[in-house]
Symmetry: C2
Subunit: 243 residues, 2 copies
DNA sequence: CCCTTCTATGAATCGTGCT
DNA sequence: CAGCACGATTCATAGAAGG
């Protein structure tokens, strides 16, 4: 009996409506607010930042991606604290981030009160090179931890330390969408049948993966268009699972 | 005409003897001071921390690995600042670290005055599992950047964004030794013929890789036993290169 | 239907030149 | 001079097109 809930609205106020200790895992991919060495570059609009010249694809834009470093860290701390209130003790927490925000993400996780337990790199072999004389930046990172102690859970088993997968257009429903396979791996950190919370659902890949892996899902997404896409994909995932 | 210098002695005082702008790259693997969630655990001796129960290998211990987080960051900042004085403008800087010290390492790199440019994960497929319900921590990280601006260098070419390699006992001459193939990849960030500085040479793998790839090497190592091992391996690498 | 060839693209980065 | 817009660059991979 898979089930999901998706709310259209702002993350923090949505989280405040949820009761204490009512979910089993937090897995989310917040806006990174990266994209340049300097503040000015970071404050370009998301489509400008992520879509390079000549690209024809027309993804919907998303907001919340233009904070500076300090306010970004504070903002993550705020909503993550609220997530931790909503999570049961021992719940795993997974936050996606890029190399530039990785240190701020681990700071925010710990400031919010979670125990930081590791990093799971997601490697994109087809990433674009940075330039001659430089290393490619072909990775994103899942920073993970837990709400307090995390006793061993035999029913979950041993999870991998990294994930290698290229991005496929057909599996990308959002400017920053994650591959479904990647998310299927990540949601396994939640015990089977448990409820996974994602306050930045985007096109809903976390939820789709959760349903396909036999977990429940509760999410929020601010943008109405993304919300519609996510709702459709979640409904499809339920159907697919039943078949 | 490959050449190397290796000094037996403490890193910071060694660095102070070097002239300004005399090396082309900094690549090093300092003691991580990680290994436990709490200070008390971190201050166990290195052999206790890294050698799991039942293991018969008897690596030489090394010092400088029992600092707490704040003093570790300060310590890295100090010697790295001195390295940057010794490096020519635009020189690449590469510091190895584990997941726990990654945020402190990027802080220290930037505090010392370098521009942080990325992370190159080194993935160890054979890593030990952490426990059921947890992600494996099978990665270490090379944090890299440069002394100021870093113009494109065609002669260096495009470098990879990550490296996958298991550790083989035969290629491990030190408790925390890196595989030679990994280091051969990393030293390529230095222009051919340039001088690579490593103030924590350990068993000399950075130097061996540098010589094999046609770069020069200058290093320091505190421990006399490690220093002897490194000296022998460097001499062998020179011979091997000539053949 | 399978294999080969070709084309499109990516949470990018830098240097240049204009305002 | 500082700030910002724009073009050039790169290659592994997916996916389409062709044989």
């Amino acid at each position: 009996m898979s089930s999901f809930q998706l709310h259209q609205g702002e993350a923090l106020s949505f989280l405040r409506t949820l009761p204490d200790a009512s979910v089993d895992a937090i897995i989310t991919d917040p806006p990174y607010s990266s994209g340049g060495l300097h503040t000015a570059q970071r404050q370009l609009s998301p489509t400008k930042k992520y879509v390079q010249t000549g690209t024809q694809r027309d993804y919907n834009t998303f907001s919340g991606d233009n904070r500076d470093q300090r306010s970004w860290t504070l903002w993550v701390t705020l909503w993550l604290s609220e997530c931790l209130r909503v999570a049961k003790p021992g719940s795993p927490v997974v936050l996606f981030t890029d190399w530039r925000q990785l240190p701020s993400t681990t700071d925010a996780m710990q400031t919010a009160g979670a125990t930081w337990r590791g990093i799971v790199p997601w490697l994109k072999p087809a990433g674009r090179p940075s330039g001659p004389g430089r290393f490619r930046n072909g990775a994103e990172y899942a920073v993970w931890g837990s709400k307090g102690d995390m006793p061993p859970r035999i029913e979950v088993g041993y999870l991998p330390g990294y994930h290698v997968e290229s991005i496929r257009q057909s599996d990308k429903h959002h400017v920053t969408g994650k591959p479904t396979e990647l998310m299927r791996t990540m949601v396994k950190v939640c015990s089977p049948g448990g409820v996974i919370l994602d306050p930045f659902a985007g096109s809903g890949t976390t939820g789709v993966a959760a349903l396909l892996e036999g977990r429940q899902f509760i999410g929020a997404e601010l943008d109405p268009t993304n919300c519609d896409i996510a709702m459709q994909r979640l409904a499809d995932a339920i159907t697919q699972k039943k078949e």
